[in-house]
């Protein structure tokens, strides 16, 4: 029953672009899928209390690597993408290994990752001779210009990107499922409860945390590359830095980061909410949309720390309408961060 529902939903998602929806809606769908994917990748770590405020750094590293390889050396993005992922992995390793080894947890970990995001942003600005600094850069148009270039990942028809984004998003959900069913999940949950106790029963704390961090970093930078290649414009301030990293976290929180669809629902809600406020207020009252958005975020964290999906799930469960034998992930108390350890 549930499987059929999922397949039907997937069929709708695949078929939707062939019904010739307005370009604007297609654009929104692509953004939601990409940000949903990035949020899901963030939540690989976030759900276990590893709150990173520097995921914008991974987004920027991936996309700048691909764009620079393409513009400067003429290497096609298909080569650039693995290189970008590799560099993100190196960055994640350089931050993650010492952080986990020396037990930097809770909001100390958040601040270290925040500093990492800033390092990436400022390095890109500092290398303004090749990256264009704060003005941003544009990947060069493929020569000779064509409408559909798989070689350069440049398409005039948005539907190609829609399918790429859909694929990437499904990949992220699949990875989520793998993590969810693995032993690593139990280990990581134990670690987020009590690091010392988990170490004492033989869980390799550093390795468990590092592995999920590496997966998260790789997926995030993949999402970043899609985003940059879709927009065909890169800017250090809108890809890295504190603002964007916080937004990734917020989307995951609003949707609910303890269950697979949560971050995507968060991206769906935040993007559609912003866009509708923006079209509603138009050019008057600039900033109104974001003001309401910020206000709602605060309210969410105060009153619904498990997110909309988490709260809904709990509500449905309590009413006893779903058969109790199918809990995907039993509702758990939210307890991100274990700063008490210090």
């Amino acid at each position: 029953m549930k499987r059929w529902l999922l397949l039907a939903g997937l069929a709708v998602l695949v078929a939707a672009p062939f019904a010739h929806p307005p370009q604007y809606f297609l654009h929104l769908a692509i953004l939601i899928l990409i940000w949903g994917m990035i949020g899901t990748s963030w939540a690989f770590m976030g759900r276990f209390g590893l709150v990173s405020l520097g995921h914008g750094g991974f987004v920027a590293v991936g996309v700048y690597t691909t764009a620079l390889l393409w513009n400067v050396y003429g290497l096609m993005p298909w080569v650039g993408i693995p290189v970008g992922i590799a560099i993100s992995l190196v960055l994640a390793l350089a931050i993650g290994y010492p952080a986990f080894r020396f037990r930097v947890v809770g909001h100390y970990f958040a601040l270290v990752t925040l500093a990492m995001g800033e390092v990436v942003r400022l390095s890109i600005i500092a290398a303004r001779d090749v990256t264009g600094g704060s003005l941003g850069m544009t990947p060069a148009r493929v020569q000779p210009p064509t409408d559909v270039s798989w070689y350069a990942l440049q398409f005039t028809d948005k539907r190609y990107f829609y399918f790429l984004a859909l694929g990437a998003w499904l990949l992220a959900l699949w990875v989520w499922g793998r993590i969810d069913r693995s032993m690593a999940r139990s280990a990581l949950e134990a670690i987020s409860e009590d690091e010392v106790a988990s170490a004492s029963v033989g869980i390799h704390v550093t390795w468990q945390k590092l592995r999920v961090t590496l997966i998260s970093a790789a997926m995030t930078s993949l999402g970043g590359m899609l985003l940059g290649w879709y927009n065909q414009y890169l800017n250090p301030d809108s890809l890295s830095g504190i603002g964007i990293s916080l937004e990734i976290v917020f989307a995951a929180i609003v949707g609910g980061m303890y269950m697979a669809p949560g971050p995507t629902i968060g991206a769906l809600l935040t993007i559609s909410f912003r866009e509708s406020l923006r079209t509603y207020f138009g050019v008057q009252l600039i900033g109104m949309a974001e003001t309401l958005y910020g206000l709602l975020l605060i309210l969410f964290i105060i009153f619904m720390p498990r997110g909309i999906y988490g709260a809904l799930y709990e509500w449905v469960q309590r009413r006893g309408q779903t058969p109790p034998k199918t809990p995907v992930a039993p509702p758990r108390e939210p307890r991100p961060g274990t700063a008490e350890a210090r």
Binding site: E118, I242, G287, E290, Y293, G294, I302, P334, A339
Partner: protein
Amino acid sequence: MFDFFLLEAILNGLLFGGVLALLSLGLNLVFGVVDVVWIAYAELVMVGMYIIYTVNILLGWPLYVAAPLSIVGVSIVGLLVHRLVIEPILNTPPINQLLATGGLLFFLQSFATLIFGSQFRNIGLSLPVVEFFELYVSFARLLAFGVALVGIVGLYLFLRRTYIGTAIRAVAQDREMMGLMGVDTRKVYLITSAVGGALAGLASILLVLQQDVHPFIGLTFGPITFMICVLGGLGNLFGGFIAAFVISQVISIGSFYVSTELSYVIAFVLFIVAMFFRPEGLFQRRS
């Protein structure tokens, strides 16, 4: 061999350290006592700058009226932040509090955009550049340095010599025990938040003298302020003060030899590395 410009860079770094120290003072207090990272602290400073701009330019009142109003205004904002945002989630994991103030960051930024627009604004006052023995230093920075010194001494005396200051230090040491001993921790938190806000207001006065205000100004100095607080050790005011000067020298000398952005990169990398080896801050005594 002796480089005159390097000396100037060092001197300016010293004064820049004063600004950073002043900025980190209030955050450090809140961080140490309430144990909450106000990610939106730099935005509180921005609120103070806008208060001065509004009172001084839009209402046309003199600066010596605008400046105290900014301190009072931001301290009320600090009080409200604690009462409305932090208090409801005080007993949830610390990361939630950090994220809630992150929401506040968005809120304040866009609220400022809504009211003032995203243009750069200033109070149209430029302080002179002072020359000492052929070294040129900005008077605004010199002033900030002096005020930072006065601020830290004042805060030290407040914490050491007053009754409520003693209560604040006691709560910072053991919040649960103090509650059991009959200290009204709620009141202590509210006062701490208000004092933290007032210090942000004080910093905003000195910042508005040297920089234009715009809604995103907080992002330029916010992250570095957190780094300083953590480097100095949470709630360790003197540690934070010294860390401010270490960081400012790194930035100032780094800007002299390489570039401003790279010098910030060096400062952040230094922070990350320091965090791995001394997570309790550079100057904290190990308990």
